[in-house]
Amino acid sequence: MVYSGGSHIRVMDAISKEFNRLEKDGSFDKYIDNVDELIGLLDKTRNTIDAAPQSRREQLANLKSGCTVWTNKMAESQKEIHGALSKYAKALDKKFKVDIEAAYNPNAFPESGDKLLDRAVAMHLIREGQFQVADKVIQEANLDIPGVLEQEFMDMYRILEALKLKDLQPAIEWAASKRERLSKSGSNLEFNLHSLQFIHLFTHPNGAGTKLALQYARENFAVFGDRYLADISRLMCAFLFQSNLQASPYGSTFLSPSAWDDVAHSFTKEFCSLLGLSPDSPLYLAALAGAIALPTLLKIGNIMREKQTEWSSENELPVEIPLPPSFQFHAIFVCPVSKEQTTDENPPMMMPCGHIVAKDSLARMSKGNPNQRFKCPYCPNESIPNQAIRVYF
């Protein structure tokens, strides 16, 4: 399953080669041409006999040999098509020997959780904005998903559509209505929307922009004075550079090409977050992580099958899956002593010196006695297990 570069012929090239041959040699058109040809001969025979009955013997003898030729031709065409089809099939057989079910964890999707996957699929479609498809799934799978969720996402897509048309008003209204919860979570979305609106007016090509922007700032920035004073003054300084914004220190803020995408992205994030949902569809992320993980699990699965052992009953995968950093959502703490990940049952504990190990390791180092003094494995400090405190990553 490991392919190295160099002289290796790519799998798809080998398959494509046979497929191209199949396209060329495998067409049923030649059958039809053969049949047409014989129909032509039959027509001619019939018409000649009809017009000149005395030629009948010669015509029929000719027809008989024509039919023999046709039979052979049909057989030949069959052989060609069959040959091309089997070569293509063989190319697939040769390249696709692996049974991908070896990577499947049979404990996944127990029957008791029948509707969970359907539900996840429907939720995915809703957050992708494919509402009609989602409705069909909800109906056919007989799911109970509160309509309010779909309403929320319809609202989100309405606001995003407006943003695409550079209309910030719906987003600003939404952010204002959620002001308290947004600021509690440390979000700057509302102010950022107003800034973008200000910049949008300021850089408007019709020339009246600066005046409108100034008016906008007077009307809208006051409430943000406490928290965003520095940002506001920065924006206001733009008036000093308006003749040549591009070259000014404000060029990058004011003319950033990604500003609209950024604000749409951060709006989506905040919107989903207030619903208790992640901004990217979890189903998409999990399927993507699965695609990345499968080749490795397939390899392990096949080795395990040969050894007739199972990995699927363990509570940890047998092998590390190298996912890109963007797939990490929690801190990972592996106890430097036991090399095990900490869990709720075996949590991370910090010794007075600031070094952290798993609880089990602590017990092992102190021989199970909570008042036994022991030396930290990483520094000269000594402590007792009772002094260690539970920490949370």
């Binding site: 494919q130 069909k136 799978a141």
Partner: protein, 397 residues
Amino acid sequence: MSKDFNPENYILLEQALLRLPQQLMRQNFKSSQKFIERDVNYISGAATEVLSSGMNGTRPEESVKQVDAMIGRLQGLKRKLEGLRDEENALMAKSKARLNHLQDLYKIKCVDDKEYERWNRVRLHRLLVDNLLRNGYSESAEALIEANESIRDLVDVDILMQCKKIEESLRNGSTAECLAWCQDNKSYLKKAKNGLEFDVRLQQYIEYVRHGRSLEAIAYSQKYLVPNADTNLDAILRSSALLVFPASDDDDNPYKDLYSQERWNQLADSFVATHHTLHGLSMPSLLQISLSAGLSALKTPSCKTGTHPISFVSNYNSSLCPICSPELNELSKPLPYAHHVRSSVEPDPVMLPNGRIYGRHTLLQFSEKAGLPEGKVRDPTTGDEWDESAIRRVFPS
């Protein structure tokens, strides 16, 4: 962390994409063989016949009539072959689209390539269609295809719908549809020594007995079961005893297993398994296989495992983790978590008095964004606030 992207490892996972149309082309070719064989035999016989009757001095009009019959027959063959050709062309077009879809993987350099993301969006759509069809949600599947026309050639609607129909007919106690399918795939079943047809026939026999139609049962058994005596003798012997033990719900009926309605579900499952093996389809859908791997690869011991009620409009929860999300949390429960050999925590970790550890930069930035006065920090998880002096450095590794 290796990010070397080897497209071939990913292509292997998608083998059903090419296998299925290839399988169908093979079947299509077999149908053509059947038609051609029949008509080739007819034509050579008819050509001899028309010649010899012409030599024997029949009227010329008679010969013309005979030739016209041959033309009619060939036109029939042509129509059938044209139908099969269209089918074949459609399968070729499908295969071609799939080859191109797989070839696209060679353009990808690494897994965080934007192209790979785009490719995977298409992949997810076709996996969803496949999974919907396997569940029999054909309207949903069609709606999803209509919304994403580019995947039409990448999904196998007809074959999965047909499979579901036959499966359902078995679950509803009807054998006809499945037997017709067995007939169509006779040579495969024989080669694979697959016992599906016998089992379905046996069930039909049991139904005759159940409904007191003993004579039909005996005739049916003689016709369809007894010829399999060399491989299924025990089952045949046992089933004949049903004639003296009528169907009953008594616990002591020694044949209650044969009378059990559950057998229909077993037949349905066994049909699906046979069908999928024949067409090179995996038993769990590729969506299920991918998710079983993906959920585990993402899962950590810190992912919420408690029994949270799934609420869609919850209060404060900015978690971005897909496993912690209400959609997948429950699904990921039966699965193991990812294996890690190295810690991966934010740089410059510091601890708050409540034991929570964050990267110093993250903590200070969050607190500043939250509008806290300088020198104050807020725990992003719990919302508690402290003086900056209360935080201390920790050494996780």
